[in-house]
């Protein structure tokens, strides 16, 4: 996309904020530009089938993959990335080295003796569980990465309430990204717009032009302090 071109083709929803965000994606996280622009367009194509799931899916993926692109770090592991192979390995070893039960006297067994091969598989499983628990949430990772991408001096303080805002918004889209989403959770069009715009503003507040935000705040200060 040429730098000066409006990705939203001068549509009514092509706001300054959206153009700046799209431009930022293009500069800093190019693979996410098209999904973002697509999601915005879809938001206004009310008769597009399945648009709610599709939009939520895109936003969920932006939260998920943006930190990897910005920081170059490996993305968070998901349980489905780790558990199947570990469980398969455990099952194989269980068959190969079955545990010994203390049922010699015919009474119901109370203890099982595990061969070391089997024990190692259990240890790995427990370890994987621990590392998954220790991971930052996707919302927090995204907040930290965006914060760091915003041209800030090292050591600038990122408040918890900002992290929480990212977590909450991410959870909204994650919960609604899949087809199995309960009907009660499927948002109305108004709710979808509200959350989508919230996601955009929160992103934009961290990476958008400083003086634009300052000007908005000056307007509020002038009114409220007066």
């Amino acid at each position: 996309m040429p730098r000066d071109e409006d990705p939203f083709e001068n549509a009514p929803f092509s706001t300054q904020l959206r153009r700046e965000l799209a431009r930022w994606f293009q500069d800093r996280a190019a693979p996410l530009t098209a999904p973002y622009v697509g999601a915005v367009r879809l938001l206004y194509m009310l008769d597009f089938p399945g648009r709610i799931h599709l939009i939520c899916h895109v936003v969920r993926d932006i939260y998920r993959f943006l930190p990897d692109i910005l920081t170059g770090d490996k993305q968070n592991s998901r349980p489905s990335d780790l558990y199947p192979s570990l469980v398969n390995s455990l099952a194989g070893k269980h068959a190969e080295f079955p545990p010994l039960l203390n049922d010699a006297l015919g009474s119901p067994p109370t203890h099982a003796q595990y061969p070391i091969e089997l024990h190692r598989c259990v240890e790995k499983l427990v370890e994987a569980r621990g590392s998954l628990k220790k991971q930052r949430s996707i919302g927090e990772r995204c907040a930290v990465a965006l914060f760091g991408a915003g041209d800030r001096p090292v050591g600038t303080f990122l408040p918890q309430w900002v992290i929480k805002a990212f977590k909450d918004e991410n959870e909204f889209f994650v919960d609604r990204a899949h087809l199995r989403t309960p009907a009660a959770k499927i948002p109305t069009d108004g709710e979808l717009h509200e959350h989508f715009e919230n996601f955009e503003r929160v992103f934009h507040s961290l990476i958008g032009p400083y003086f634009k935000g300052k000007s908005e705040l000056d307007d509020i200060l002038q009114d409220t302090n007066g």
Binding site: G150, D151, R152, P153, V154, T156, F157, L158, P159, Q160, W161, V162, K164, A165, N198, R201, V202, S205, L206, G208, P209, Y210, F211, G213, K214, E216, L217, I220, L221, D223, T224, N225, G226
Partner: protein
């Protein structure tokens, strides 16, 4: 009452959205003056998570790193307007950040006491964890206000946190709190807290004072002996009380509390004394006496009983308080009681130890006269207590004693400290000496000895200084009598010679012959003699003739340097002085080499230190300085030192005595860093004197390779370091010492410079090489690439210094020819890509190219491009203010390059204040960039945006 608008939902939404960015949050909260935002911001979670202080352990000491929190600053500002909301919000904040606690304290001080009291638990926790120790004064003020406005429980709880002491034995000041603020705070809260429950509060002060006394090394809790007469001579405020003793100051607080409790809060003297009786420490008994005296009207009987308590009278520890009691309450005693007191005085002091004490202190047996004197003085001191009540014979006795001795200094004190004396005191002033003949003065000074018993008083150093003034005033006259000084102790002889030296230096007509005869006599004395007049009594008194010998070296140097006023020719002729001076020098150059500056050779790499300071502060070094002055003196006589004379005619063949003295210094058994440093300092003179000799002896003089065999004895480096540090570079030196230059360059990778020393010989070596390079006398590849090797292999700090030196020197040498500039430009273009950028992130590199840039000798375009490459690696170049100033001047040459440089420097300002120093220059560069082509303009906009985030919001006006 001002009414504030309620923020709209839309305003709240926009502001909270924007405040996700910390820069916007800081901006908004710093300017928000409407308390109606507290609720909405609280709901958004803005006050939920203050930045934590980071606790670091640096060199075993715990330090906290923390920053301000705009949210708590906003709350503190709103405390007066919405105290309930602010209090509720702060009560939910948990933090270890001292800045946030500071805001909480400010808020508490601004809100009504009834509301502030609710913050006390939070503040107590902060005090106990030492979170904001420097706010002690404000917390004390809050404590006093809470107490005076009826918040008793909160006030007492805060007082407990503030003033309870947990001291380890030997720890005489409160930990984590400033003793001054502690005492000032406690003094401030006493009146208010006494109003709540006086006895209970006084008891607390007792406990705090007891803790401070128990922690003192000198206190004994079992016996109660606390040595308080030393650290608190008087219970009341008194000039002799020590202002720096914490427990002593705390006694003052207790006294204030006790006095106010009785006088203002209705506590009876009896109740207070009962409280005091519970503590064993002596100072509490002294406090008891003080209160009995002060409130004697409440219990006159007790005051009288106390005055005629013989045990108290005899106990020196109660002397001051008892003296005060007698002084102000003596008239309360009945006639019979007064007789009891006078009876004790008439009986006199216990004299059982007097004879023994007298013998020990004076060395003599006590006579009846001595005993009577002691007894009368003791009586005088006791009568001094009641001096305003004396009558008849006793008054007559007192007045006589007063006339004889003046006011007794220890009548009511056990110790007294007075002003210290600086300098020395003479037993006789110069005006008195002037009345005597020179011979009489010599007899006086030779016989006078100070009184050993007197710590202060006249001393020999004082007398010598006064004698010096006397000699100085009559130098021409006394010079003739110089030889009669032989009967005097060395300290006076030294004074005499030094004053004669001063007179010679100032051009007075001095008859040198008698003085040189005296000098000759001195150097013939064994060096360790001269103490026949008695052992030295002061630190600055000569123990032998050594210091006088050093004065002689200075005299010789002065004689040699003296010139006639008319034509700058030497004032003193070679005949007869040359023989006499060389004879003196021959002895003096063999004096001990040790410098008066201490250093340990084992701890110093001889390649890294310039030893000249040691040399010129050693006896031998001073003599060698005189020797070189002697060489110049002879040269001046022969006209050989003229501007165009390349060498001394005849060299050492004409002055063999100098060669002999120098070669003695080079012999293995005589070598010393001090002497060799002084010789190295004069390589230029030696080169002029006899270059053949210098060439032939260079390897013996410098002997740099010795570092490999025995670094502790590699004294030749002292000569080398002095040479490279103090001699101007010249190709002749380079040619003569090529071998040494090569060897020293070979050592440059292996040395680590001494931190904090200005003279770094390896740096000076680099300067030599680069100046030769600039003159075109040494290329990068000459002599097996000597310079190239130096600039690529020398320790990073050393090679960085060499390159930095170029910029500095060009700033001074404004007339450096164009070819020099071209050579240096070529050097940079080789150095930076080849090696410079690699070691730039470490070491002394901030000034590396900065000085090249600001010297303004290199072409603008070239300078900009090289600076851009440099700041890419070193984003905080120095001198940054001058760099940016020049950048503004030449920005139009390449505005894109200039904005890139500015961008790097702004981002490289990790300390956050440098931009302030070059604000206007940066503004001008950015203004120019905004008018440039789109890409440059965009870069400028991004930089302005960044500056805004850093708090430089006025750059926004450019957009």
């Amino acid at each position: 009452m001002t009414s504030f608008k309620t923020p709209t939902a839309e305003q709240i939404a926009v502001a909270v959205q924007r405040m996700h960015s910390p820069e916007h949050a800081a901006y908004f909260l710093a300017r928000l003056n409407n308390p109606n935002w507290i609720g909405p911001l609280c709901n958004a979670g803005v006050f939920g998570s203050p930045p934590e202080a980071v606790v670091e352990v640096v060199e075993g000491e715990e330090r906290r790193r923390f920053g301000p929190w705009p949210a708590s600053q906003y709350l503190a500002r709103m405390a007066k307007l919405a105290p309930e909301d602010v209090c509720r919000t702060f009560a939910e904040v948990t933090t270890n950040n001292p800045a946030v606690i500071g805001d909480m304290i400010d808020a508490a001080l601004a809100m009504p006491s009834a509301i502030a009291a609710r913050l006390v638990p939070k503040l107590n926790a902060a005090i106990q964890s030492d979170t904001a120790p420097w706010r002690f004064r404000d917390l004390s003020e809050l404590c006093a206000r809470l107490a005076s406005e009826g918040q008793s429980a909160a006030a007492l709880s805060l007082a407990d946190s503030l003033f309870t002491l947990e001291l380890q034995p030997g720890e005489e000041e409160p930990r984590g709190r400033d003793a001054h603020w502690y005492i000032e705070g406690l003094t401030a809260v006493i009146p208010s807290l006494l109003s709540i429950n006086p006895l209970s509060f006084v008891r607390k002060v007792f406990i705090w004072l007891s803790a401070a006394i128990r922690a003192k090394r000198t206190s004994d809790p079992k016996s109660g002996d606390d040595h308080s007469v030393a650290w608190r001579p008087a219970i009341e405020e008194h000039p002799q009380n020590r202002t720096h003793d914490f427990a002593g100051q705390l006694v003052g607080c207790l006294r204030l509390a006790c006095e106010k409790a009785i006088s203002d809060a209705g506590v009876s003297l009896a109740d207070m004394l009962e409280l005091l009786d519970r503590n064993r420490f002596v100072v509490f008994n002294r406090m008891r006496l003080h209160l009995i005296n002060l409130f004697a009207n409440q219990n006159p009987e007790l005051a009288r009983r106390t005055m005629i308590d013989r045990l108290l009278f005899e106990d020196y520890r109660f002397k001051h308080e008892l003296a005060m009691l007698f002084g102000s309450r003596f008239q309360m005693l009945a006639a019979a009681e007064k007789d009891v007191f006078f009876g004790w005085i008439d009986r006199g002091p216990d004299m059982s130890d007097f004879d023994e004490y007298f013998k020990a202190s004076s060395g003599n047996d006590a006579t009846d006269e001595d005993r009577r004197g002691r007894r009368e003085y003791w009586q005088f001191e006791r009568l001094h207590w009641i001096r305003n009540h004396l009558e008849a014979e006793r008054k007559k006795f007192y007045d006589e004693m007063f006339a004889r001795h003046g006011e007794p200094q220890l009548a009511d004190l056990t110790f007294r400290t007075g002003p210290f004396r600086f300098g020395h005191e003479s037993p006789i002033c110069v005006a008195e000496l002037e009345k005597l003949s020179f011979d009489a003065v010599l007899q006086l000074i030779a016989a006078w000895r100070p009184d050993k018993r007197s710590f202060l008083g006249p001393d020999l150093e004082g007398l010598a200084a006064e004698f010096g003034k006397y000699v100085a005033a009559h130098a021409e006259e006394f010079a003739a009598s110089a030889e009669s000084m032989q009967e005097c102790p060395p300290i006076f002889v030294r004074q005499f010679i030094e004053r004669m030296t001063d007179a010679t230096a100032s051009g007075k007509q001095i008859d040198l012959q008698p003085i040189l005869n005296l000098c000759r006599w001195i150097v013939e004395q064994p060096c360790d003699s001269g103490n026949e007049h008695g052992a030295p009594s002061g630190l600055l008194e000569d123990t032998n003739w050594q210091w006088t010998r050093e004065s002689i070296a200075r005299l010789v140097q002065t004689i040699c340097a003296a010139t006639a006023a008319s034509d700058s020719r030497p004032q003193y002729p070679l005949d007869p002085f040359r023989t006499q001076l060389s004879a003196l020098l021959k002895e003096l150059v063999r004096d001990p080499p040790h410098s008066s500056i201490s250093y340990s050779p084992a701890e110093i790499d001889p390649r890294t230190r310039d030893f000249v300071d040691l040399g010129i502060n050693s006896a031998r070094g001073k003599a060698l300085q005189a020797l070189f002055a002697y060489v110049r003196w002879i040269g001046n006589h022969d006209g050989a030192l003229g501007d165009h004379v390349q060498s001394f005619p005849g060299g050492f063949e004409v002055i063999p005595e100098v060669r002999e003295m120098l070669e003695w210094q080079l012999a293995q058994e005589n070598r010393s860093v001090e002497a060799l440093a002084v010789i190295g300092l004069h390589i230029g003179l030696l080169h002029w004197l006899d270059k053949g000799w210098l060439q032939a002896n260079a390897s013996r003089l410098f002997d740099l390779e010795q570092i490999e065999q025995d670094p502790g004895n590699a004294s030749g480096w002292a000569a080398w370091n002095a040479f490279v540090s103090w001699t101007n570079p010249h190709i002749e030196f380079y040619k003569m010492f090529r071998r040494e230059f090569r060897y020293a360059v070979g050592q440059a990778p292996n040395v680590v410079g001494e931190d904090g020393r200005h003279e770094r010989p390896m740096d000076a070596l680099g300067e030599h090489l680069l100046i030769l390079y600039a003159r075109g006398q040494l290329t990068l590849d000459d002599d097996e690439q000597l310079l190239r090797r130096f600039l690529t292999t020398a320790a990073p700090d050393i090679r960085s210094h060499a390159m930095t030196f170029v910029g500095r020197s060009l700033e001074v040498d404004v007339n450096a020819p164009e070819e020099v500039i071209c050579r240096y430009a070529d050097l940079w273009d080789w150095y930076w890509p080849e090696i410079g950028h690699q070691n730039a992130p470490t070491g002394r590199t901030h000034e590396l190219f900065g000085n090249w840039f600001v010297c303004e000798r290199f072409p603008d375009k070239w300078s900009l491009e090289r600076l851009r490459d440099f700041v890419e690696v070193v984003p905080s170049p120095e001198p940054d203010d001058r760099i940016i100033a020049r950048l503004e001047r030449i920005a139009s040459v390449d505005i894109g390059c200039s904005v890139t440089i500015l961008d790097r420097m702004v981002r490289g300002d990790t300390e956050g204040w440098h931009v302030h120093a070059w604000h206007s220059h940066a503004e001008a560069i950015l203004a120019l960039a905004l008018r440039a082509e789109p890409l440059i303009r965009e870069q400028a906009i991004r930089l302005i945006d960044y500056l805004g985030r850093r708090g430089y919001t006025d750059f926004g006006a450019l957009l």
